[in-house]
């Protein structure tokens, strides 16, 4: 089989790309997409470790399933907030949404 | 090894005649995929002819009757005509996505056939998560609608897609919930296991309500009348595929026709015993299993055609109300009730034992209890709905002043 470190490398690369997306993008939707990439990198790691190290313990798969649930909830609420913000300010640039700044 | 029946033993036979083992394996799988993917497409050609004849009879017309005997060659003539049409890509279109969308539409239907057990020995892939897989690949169909509408750079297409996607996503909920019942009854998500669990009793008798719910929501998933808001010709020009022409349009068209028949096949597999015929005949002659399956699928297909031709199109708000206020609550209650009744049946000890699961008589007590539960729930639901509607009608007629017809639109 493909050795474990290859999966870990892909996951690390995916996490870094997602992190770059979160930090460097202006648009809030694009930032959310970056977060999704990071969550999926985590999931890939969970499943890879589960398969290679503890295939008889369900914790890896169960936690990956919970991450999926949280990701879905996060996107639903996140996009709803973005649409609400867009409706009020006609913009979804993260830099424009700073009403709470003193 | 006998090499007279190459359907099941193609790979070993090729190895016997001197092929490389991996190559033989690849060749046999590749051939299987091609046959499995082409077969539904060929069936669709006949279905198009049949549906046009059927609709024509209902509408007191003759239908296609010029090309070939009984107009049988009409679909081929149509294909030749469509091939000759100009292949238009609108200005400002996203070319790659525009071209991928029709293929994805057909793919979303064809992928379902990969897990359908056609006979005791003919199944593309016996996935342990077959039922979930069916729901998963259906999302490609939704995606292709978005791709098609967005990439063709047309406002009407986009408006059509918003409607369609709302419809498809909404009706996936009761679809998945009613799919849960056969999974629960068979104790497995694999379609092969679900089929075999019906050797004693078809699930349509055990769970008629979920069969009806599944049928209604799958009819909506195909976007056929009465749920044909996808391409409500009179309202949306032509819906999401307005910019498509020639063979690309034909792919959407074929995808829709194939989807209707595929739903018939799914109904047959999930609720009517799939390839199981009478007297275990399909075990001795496996090819008969395909015939049984297709006969059953045709019954559901004809039912779908009848509904399509008999019931007028619903409005978008009626469509959504019907789903969220009727189908979804009923399917949720149905799932809870079936789970509860199954436990009750087990506790009472009238569930068939694993050894007798394939026996018709041993299944009768359990079936009776579950069937009675379904009937009671169905009557309750119909009662609630009809009293509710009566109240609404009374209120409406009390509120309404005399308005000329159509003035309120």
């Amino acid at each position: 089989m493909v050795p474990l470190w290859m999966y870990l490398t892909v996951a690390a690369a995916l996490f870094s790309i997602g992190m770059y997306g979160v930090l460097a993008r202006r648009n809030a939707v694009a930032v959310l997409m970056g977060i999704e990439l990071m969550l999926n990198a985590v999931n890939l790691n969970l499943i890879a470790f589960w398969r290679y190290l503890t295939p008889f313990n369900m914790s890896g798969q169960a936690f990956a399933a919970f991450v999926l649930v949280v990701a879905a909830a996060e996107v639903a609420v996140g996009l709803a907030i973005i649409i609400a913000v867009y409706r009020n300010r006609q913009s979804v640039e993260v830099e424009d949404v700073d009403m709470l700044k003193g | 090894m006998q090499c007279d029946n190459i359907i099941n033993t193609l790979a070993p036979c090729l190895v016997q005649s001197g092929w490389n083992g991996d190559l033989a394996n690849f060749a046999s799988i590749f051939l299987g995929v091609i046959i499995l993917a082409t077969f539904p497409l060929l069936v669709t050609i006949v279905l198009i002819w049949f549906e046009r004849k059927f609709a024509a009879r209902i509408q007191d017309r003759l239908g296609p009757n010029r090309v070939g005997p009984f107009g049988l060659l009409q679909p081929f003539a149509d294909v030749i005509k469509l091939l000759g049409k100009e292949d238009i890509t609108p200005a400002g279109a996203d070319k790659l996505i525009y071209n991928i969308a029709p293929v994805m539409m057909v793919m979303s239907v064809l992928l379902i056939w990969a897990v359908v057990p056609l006979s005791p020995i003919h199944v593309g892939m016996d996935l342990e998560i077959g039922a979930l897989y069916i729901i998963s690949v259906a999302s490609f169909g939704t995606l292709s609608v978005i791709f098609a509408s967005w990439s063709s750079n047309n406002k009407y297409a986009l408006l059509g897609a918003f409607r369609v996607v709302a419809q498809l996503i909404s009706y996936e909920v009761p679809l998945a919930l009613s799919l849960l019942i056969p999974v629960m009854l068979a104790g497995s998500m694999s379609l092969v296991d679900i089929t075999q669990a019906q050797a004693g009793m078809w699930f349509i008798f055990v769970a008629p309500l979920s069969a009806i719910l599944f049928f209604i929501s799958s009819q909506a998933e195909t976007g056929r009348a009465p749920f044909d808001l996808l391409e409500a010709e009179s309202e949306l020009v032509a819906g999401f595929n307005i910019e498509y022409s020639g063979m690309k349009f034909a792919l959407f068209f074929a995808g829709e026709f194939m989807h209707v028949f595929t739903n018939g096949v799914l109904m047959a597999v999930l609720f009517a015993g799939g390839y199981i015929g009478f007297g275990g005949l399909e075990n001795s002659i496996p090819l008969l299993g395909i015939v049984f399956l297709f006969l059953k699928a045709s019954v559901f297909y004809m039912l779908s055609l009848l509904i399509r031709n008999a019931i007028p199109r619903v409005r978008i708000d009626q469509l959504m109300n019907f789903n969220w206020k009727f189908l979804v609550p009923v399917s949720i209650v149905n799932v809870v009730m079936m789970a509860f009744l199954l436990k009750v049946v087990q506790a009472l000890g009238i569930a068939p034992t694993p050894e007798l699961a394939n026996d018709f008589v041993a299944n009768i007590p359990q079936t009776l209890v579950l069937f009675a539960g379904n009937v009671v729930l169905g009557l309750l639901v119909m009662n609630t709905v009809s009293s509710r509607i009566r109240k609404e009608r009374l209120q409406e007629s009390a509120n309404r002043a005399i308005v000329p017809m159509g003035a309120g639109d």
Binding site: L14, I17, E36, N43, W50, A80 | N20, I129, S136
Partner: protein, 173 residues
């Protein structure tokens, strides 16, 4: 199937999914058109589903396709199409993009050096060829001494998120 020395079908599939995942991810963070970005995202997450199949977790692969392509990808496309003027951005990145790049690169290097390089030498064979099935996952999720509480909390979270999303996105009448 043998594509040459050491290139098993599994390695071939792994390579394909790597191209899909990482290529898609790069598309997500660089594309100016956000609908395109959503499509890249779906491609990338489809690659992840492929990995799940390779790692013999078919249930999660199927759920991944269902949730990410069938729900989240479509939600993203809708959000982008509903908020006009987002389909074509003027600028890709904000002013600190080089700082962000530096941070991401540092994270990657740290992960590689700290965690992954030490594991390079391992042949990396899994401890067992046998794996638990979907049935085991289902039992684990609902059995009292394992994950039934997190499972219920997750369902509650989903319900709360659904109601919350409707309340937030709803237009005031």
């Amino acid at each position: 199937m043998n594509f040459g020395e050491g290139l098993t079908p599994e390695a071939f599939a792994f390579g394909l999914f790597t191209i899909l995942t990482l290529g898609g991810a790069l598309g997500v963070v660089t594309s100016l058109n956000l609908v395109r970005a959503a499509i890249w995202l779906m491609l990338s997450l489809f690659g992840i589903a492929g990995y799940f199949v390779l790692l013999s977790a078919p249930f999660l692969a199927s759920v991944q396709v269902l949730v990410y392509i069938g729900a989240i990808g479509i939600l993203f496309s809708f959000a982008v199409m509903l908020t006009r003027g987002m389909t074509n951005l003027k600028e890709r990145f904000n002013d600190q993009w080089w700082l962000a790049g530096l941070a991401a690169l540092t994270a990657f290097v740290l992960l590689m050096v700290g965690v992954i390089v030490p594991a390079f030498g391992n042949s990396g064979a899994p401890v067992s060829d046998q794996v638990t099935t979907t049935v085991d996952l289902g039992v684990a999720l609902v059995s009292g001494n394992q994950y039934v509480l997190p499972f219920e909390v997750a369902s509650l979270l989903l319900t709360a998120a659904m109601i919350g999303a409707i309340v937030i996105a709803r237009e005031d009448d």
